[in-house]
Every structure is written in structure tokens, then in C-alpha cells.
Symmetry: C2
Amino acid sequence: MSGENAPFGHVAIIGLGLIGGSIGLAVRECMPDVTVSGWDSDADVRAVATRRGLAHVVPDTVAEAVADADLVILCVPVRAMEEVAATLAGKLKPDCIVSDVGSCKVSVAEAIARVLPGQPIVPAHPVAGTEHSGPEAGFASLFKNRWCIVTPCAATDPDDAEKVMAFWRGIGATVETMAPDHHDLVLAVTSHVPHLIAYTIVGTASDLEEVTRSEVIKYSAGGFRDFTRIAASDPTMWRDVFLSNKHAVLEILQRYSEDLTALQRAIRWGDGDALFEHFAKTREIRRSIIEEGQDDARPDFGRGDHTGAVLPDGTAGD
Amino acid sequence: MSGENAPFGHVAIIGLGLIGGSIGLAVRECMPDVTVSGWDSDADVRAVATRRGLAHVVPDTVAEAVADADLVILCVPVRAMEEVAATLAGKLKPDCIVSDVGSCKVSVAEAIARVLPGQPIVPAHPVAGTEHSGPEAGFASLFKNRWCIVTPCAATDPDDAEKVMAFWRGIGATVETMAPDHHDLVLAVTSHVPHLIAYTIVGTASDLEEVTRSEVIKYSAGGFRDFTRIAASDPTMWRDVFLSNKHAVLEILQRYSEDLTALQRAIRWGDGDALFEHFAKTREIRRSIIEEGQDDARPDFGRGDHTGAVLPDGTAGD
Ligand SMILES: NC(=O)c1ccc[n+]([C@@H]2O[C@H](COP(=O)([O-])OP(=O)(O)OC[C@H]3O[C@@H](n4cnc5c(N)ncnc54)[C@H](OP(=O)(O)O)[C@@H]3O)[C@@H](O)[C@H]2O)c1
Ligand SMILES: NC(=O)c1ccc[n+]([C@@H]2O[C@H](COP(=O)([O-])OP(=O)(O)OC[C@H]3O[C@@H](n4cnc5c(N)ncnc54)[C@H](OP(=O)(O)O)[C@@H]3O)[C@@H](O)[C@H]2O)c1
């Protein structure tokens, strides 16, 4: 996408960690004529960002970073969005669109609108990431063929929403729109509660007196290992997500706990049919995910596709 | 390992699914002088086993399959072990060792001893598998560099235990011994409860009225996807595991539920510090697993190593 066709001439990224850094690298690769400026509150992060070229320029002040921007994307933890947005007041061009990548949308959109009244706002959430964070973690292809959910609200100008959607398509994402509260419920079940569950069982395992830490680690291939990867995600980011998406997370947790209690009861009373029926049902979901192309039956989840490597069978399982 | 050095001259495998089939292929590859016979109650499975060469011979009756065996390995679902072992009574050489691969050990060892009194018994559990099952699923390298836990009991002759351990080493596994009840507790936390949790949340997600099945599938990259893989595991096998390892599973589930309730309460009351502290702690476990070599920081978990492919960054995360 060239500068003429790119929806914005100058994009400013605030927060140069995994997501912010990846956006910077992706724009430089996919839209070479677009100017990218970046800023982070941490001088060390700014130094790494300069060295890695996460943006063309990484000035010392946020004012310089956003002065000429047509699009500002806030890429900081969810509960830092309001504070960071507040520092932009009076420093933006009047038609500069403010967007963000926060993992929950209702609270973030409200927070930004509160401190930047009158500024066009188009919240978005790229459903892509890794367990790593910080300015060394980003890479240009992070969003390729991943979903990005744009959540316009009543006040959003449809043209502005369209530009932000074109931007995400330009760096490789597949874009969907959703109402902010619906987004928060969908992500509570597909992401937030799974993370909380993983954090919990990994903690439970490490607290057991009868089983040593080393045993837990050694035999983690039996299923536990996948949970440890999720439970290694950034603590600041996830604390913020749970506190900000409290309502939807508690709602899903309540249902989950009821379902777990039912299975626990079936185990206690030896109700094999109830267990079998439940386990057979969940298999279907996996099949649909593979059919949908959201995953791959191969054990590397098709991650080798980038190099064209054909991968052999791997091991996980029991 | 040649026939002279191999601990057994003739190995019989009963149950030719993922694990049984993989053992057959592994023995044929790693111990070419050892004779492998196989049997399964299902004639279709026997036909596939013959076609794929999971054993040298796959006779029509279990009596023929075990007649000359020095080692019989039961590779059927945990709750079928007793019934299958009972069919072997009177058909084995007196010094033929009976082993199994069941995912829980106390109940299986008791069941086999009950129906084959006087026969040498050495239970084992290879901690390796995939989400697939059946006679098409096995492959020779499944146990390479994976743990196999051998759980001798008071009646086990140490020489017999040593032979079974040498057998597993011969097909690539790293062998540990453990008391049967300790095995069941360790596996409850590293495997059985993680599977139950995954089965539960995948079920909860598919029952939500407000969120469509298609949305759950689309946005599964946010964390949910790893759970769907686990929750696609064989329903029969897992029903049996939960019913047979009931005591340890219920014990771990109780602790897990208390821990989840504490985090849920922290979310409800906005206790960010408690959340942060918990999430920071679980990160450490992940680091230890990577240091221990049980996993890999690379997104394919090092599964590409077999082909020597260097894999790029992948995406999972939020
Ligand atoms: N990781 C994912 O999987 C993922 C996926 C989609 C969306 N998101 C969302 O993307 C956002 C960023 O996540 P990330 O994974 O990129 O995190 P990250 O790698 O930790 O990056 C966040 C960056 O923001 C900086 N920062 C923190 N507080 C700040 C403040 N008050 N002012 C300015 N900069 C500040 C951090 O600097 P310090 O390190 O000095 O604090 C860090 O450089 C979050 O809202 C998250 O919910 C994450
Ligand atoms: N999968 C894992 O991750 C894993 C890992 C370690 C240990 N294990 C243990 O290994 C054992 C086998 O699991 P698997 O994954 O190999 O399962 P599988 O692929 O389903 O194979 C089990 C085989 O046993 C046969 N079978 C079932 N009931 C039988 C009976 N009464 N008599 C004779 N054959 C019978 C099945 O035939 P039908 O299909 O006709 O029923 C099937 O061919 C289980 O005890 C499991 O706990 C599994």
C-alpha cells in the first residue's frame, strides 16, 4: 500500500511494547510511504525502539510524537489508556483519529472519550499476540491473517471507522466490527477467562506440598504445559484486563464454575455417561476450529507455514 | 538395540490404538530383532494394524497373540484393563511380565493383580500422546525423549522392573520410577485436572446464548484455542481416567476451586495487587519448564526440531 492509497500519512504509536512495536514494524514494511512516530513513557523502551527501528522517529516528548499525526494508536495497558490519552489533550490535530489496541473495549472507549472530548475516536483490538512483551518482542508479521475487531460507538463517524479498518487491512489483518459490549463478552470467553483459568491451575500446582515443583515441571507434557505458556503472559496487562472487563469476566466465570461443579459431581458419583457425553460434545468445537482455518491439525498449529516447513507429528496429549 | 541386548525376545501389545500402535512401530524400528505381536478386540482395528505394520503379526485371537510373549503390554482404556487382563488368564508363560500404559496407576495395578494372580506385573505410564486416537494415529517417535513413569509395587521383582525400564529406554523414553499413588497425584495436577478444565470451558463457551459458535471459533486465537485441542482428546479414555483417578482428581479440583474463587473475589473487589502478585508468580514456572528443556520458548514448542526447520515467531496470546 503506497502513501497515496494508505488511509493515513502519519501514524503515531504510544506505547512501544509487543503490540505497539509490531504495528510500527508492520507499517514500515507494508506502507513504506507512511511516516511512523513512536513514544513510550520509559526512556529505555524508547532507546530500544530507536535501535530496532520500531518507528522512523522516537522523540523525547509525547507532544512531538503526535504533533503531525493523522492517527494516534494507544498501545499501553488498558488501565493506563486514560492517563496517556489525557496527556494528548490540546496536542492533536483536530481531525486526528485516536485509536487503541486494548483487549477490552467498553471501559477504554469511555476513558478516552472522557479526556479527549470532541476528538474522533475509533477503538480496535487486534486478536493476536504472544506470551512475550516489551520493545524486543514485536515483529512485522504479528497481525498477518489475524482478526482485528473494530468497535465503533454511536459517536464514531463511519468514514473514520472505514479508515481505521483500511489501516488494519493494510498491515495484514482481517477486520470485523462489533459493538463494544459484545466484544467484551466474546473476548471474556475466548480469551480472558481461559487466561484466568490457566493462571489459577499453574498457581495451584506450584503450591502443592505433596508434589515437588520439579515433578510438575518434568511431567508438564501431559496437558499442563499449554497452560503454563498462557500463564506466563504479562501480569500488568492481564491485571488491567480483568479489572476493566470485570462484568463480562465474572458472568462467564459464574457459568464456568457451575459447569465444572457438574462434572466434578459426575466424577464423585461415577456418572461415566455424563462425562462421556460432555467430552464428546467438545470435540466438535475443535473440528470446527480446524475447518474454519483458525487452527491446524498439525501439532505446530501451522506456524511453520511461514517457512514452508512440513512438520512431523509432535507430542502433547495426556 | 539388538535381539540379544533387548530385554525381551517377544512383546505382545493388546489394544492397537495411538499408544499401542506407537509402541509396535517403535519396537520394530529400535529393536529390529524383537518379535512384536498385536491384538485388538475390534477386527477393523486389527485390519488397520496389519496394513500399517503396527506388529509383525496380528492374529485373530488374543490367545495366539500372547502365547509366546515375554512381555505383554495392555494399551486399552483404563477401565477396560481388568476385563482384557482376565482374558489372558491361563494363556501366558509363567514368567511373562504383564505391563500396561494406563494414565492412572493405583486402580489399574490392583485390577490386573486381581485377575492375574501370581503373574509378574510392572505397570508403566508413558507421558506422551496427541489429541488423536485409534490405529491410524500412532508413530514410531512418539516416546522419543519423553518421560515414562514405571510404578513398581511391593510385589514387583526388581529385576522385572529393570527389564521394563530397559524396554522403554530402548524405544527412546527417559524412565523414572514412582510409587503408584504418588504418580496418580502428580498426574492429576499436570494432566487430569488440566484436561477437565479444558473440557469445561470449551463446553461453557459452546453453550452461551449471547455469543455464537462462529464467534467463539473465529476469535479462539486469544487463548481458547489451546484448550480446544486438549478438549478434543478421546472421550472414552478420559472418562475412564477421571473415574479411576477419582480421589486425586477431586483433591486437586478442590484446591483449584478455592484458588479460582480467591482470584474471582480479587476481580470483584478490584484488588489489582493480589492479581498482579499471583500472575507474576506463575511466570516463574514457565521459565523453569523452558530451562528444564520440557518446552521451548519458540512458538512451535520446538516441534520443528525433527526436520531441523527454523521457525519464525507465531501468534497466540490475547
Ligand atoms: N499481548 C497481547 O497478547 C495483546 C494482544 C492484543 C491487545 N493487547 C493490548 O495491547 C496493549 C499493549 O500490550 P502489549 O502486549 O504491547 O504490552 P507491552 O509489551 O508491555 O507494552 C506496553 C508498553 O506500554 C508502556 N507503558 C505502560 N504504561 C504506560 C504509560 N502510563 N504511559 C506510556 N507508556 C506506558 C510500557 O512501558 P513499561 O514497560 O515501561 O511499563 C510498554 O512499553 C494492552 O492494552 C493490551 O491489552 C495485547
Ligand atoms: N492418548 C494419550 O495421550 C495417552 C498417553 C499415555 C497413556 N495413555 C493410556 O493408553 C491407553 C490407550 O490409550 P490410546 O490413546 O492408545 O487410546 P486409543 O487410541 O483409543 O486405543 C485404545 C485401543 O484399545 C481398544 N480397546 C478398547 N476397549 C478394548 C477392550 N475391552 N479389549 C480390547 N481392546 C480394546 C480400542 O478399540 P476400539 O476403538 O474398538 O474401542 C483401541 O483400538 C489408555 O489406558 C490411556 O489412558 C494414553
